[in-house]
């Protein structure tokens, strides 16, 4: 069982600078050749004016705190028995090249069901204008309690 006293533990702020080629690399890795992710000339003809990040690119810029939870030496989760059980993203605006994202996160919940432990991380990503970009909620499941 994971000690409930860690509920509320915070991570960050973590800075992440959005790179043009990294955005493209992520979209290509996710099999998405949509021009708005890759082609600046096309993007200039749209309301966005430049290429935008694939929504799921939030896995890169809004979940780094979750990685810190997994490696947190105070909590020492049993990684051998841990799987990423569920994920939720909520987007409020798009990301563009050179945006500087600041992620702050916390352990939002810890609970048990049967012999499974659940640890929930919530990250909030804001851009350089302090606009909310994305909320990310990752649920990790640890077998064996």
């Amino acid at each position: 069982m994971v000690d409930h006293k860690w509920i509320g533990k915070t991570y960050g702020p973590l800075k992440y600078e959005i790179g043009r080629e990294k955005m493209r690399e992520y979209a290509a890795a996710a099999k998405d050749n949509r021009p708005i992710y890759h082609d600046e000339e096309f993007a200039k003809t749209t309301k966005y004016g430049d290429i935008i990040g694939m929504p799921n690119f939030a896995a890169v810029y809004a979940l780094r705190g979750a990685g810190m939870v997994l490696l947190d030496q105070e909590i020492k989760l049993n990684l051998a028995m841990l799987v990423h059980g569920a994920q939720e993203f909520e987007w409020f605006t798009v990301v563009k090249p050179n945006d500087v994202i600041t992620e702050t996160g916390k352990i939002a919940d810890i609970y048990e069901k049967g012999n499974l432990d659940f640890v929930v991380y919530e990250g909030e990503a804001r851009n350089q204008n302090d606009e909310l970009v994305c909320r990310a909620r990752a649920t990790f499941v640890i077998r064996g309690g």
């Binding site: 290509a28 996710a30 998405d32 708005i36 935008i52 929504p55 993203f89």
Partner: protein, 141 residues
């Protein structure tokens, strides 16, 4: 201005299925996704580790890779990535090289404010579930 979304809120019906997207996973997909995402867990990229240490049948796809393809499936339907407001799912089935995964969605309800909620999921050709209980919320003009 090039318009990215040609779909209209008024044209969408509850119960309507969106075009599915099908992808056969191979081990290079996981290597490329590892580099793009920064998740280098060897269960996704190293078959020796996956089989001999983690006791898996082979390397398995990243859950977030499968979820990205689910997001792509919804964006392919709406056209404008900025109109995808929410996406969630549970990671259930393992995907190993050679598996074909089909990503699907169906309109569950239409909300005020031009929002549409879909059930979204992913399954293999044999019907076994990969991504379960997913939900997507999109804005449509």
């Amino acid at each position: 201005m090039a318009e990215l979304c040609e779909l209209k809120y008024d044209d969408v019906q509850v119960g309507q299925e969106i075009p599915s997207f099908s992808h056969q996973f191979d081990r290079m997909d996981a290597v490329i996704y590892a580099g793009a995402s920064g998740d280098f867990n060897p269960i996704h990229t190293n078959p020796f580790f996956a089989k001999d240490v983690a006791m898996l049948p082979d390397v398995i796809a990243h859950g977030l890779f499968n979820m990205a393809l689910l997001g792509k499936t919804v964006v392919d339907w709406i056209g404008d990535p900025g109109y995808l407001k929410k996406l969630s799912c549970q990671f259930r089935g393992m995907v190993i090289p050679g598996d074909t995964v089909i990503f699907k969605g169906k309109v569950r309800e239409k909300l005020e404010g031009n929002l549409v909620v879909l059930d979204v999921w992913a399954e293999k050709a044999d019907g076994s579930i990969v991504l379960k209980g997913g939900e997507a919320t999109v804005f449509l003009p």
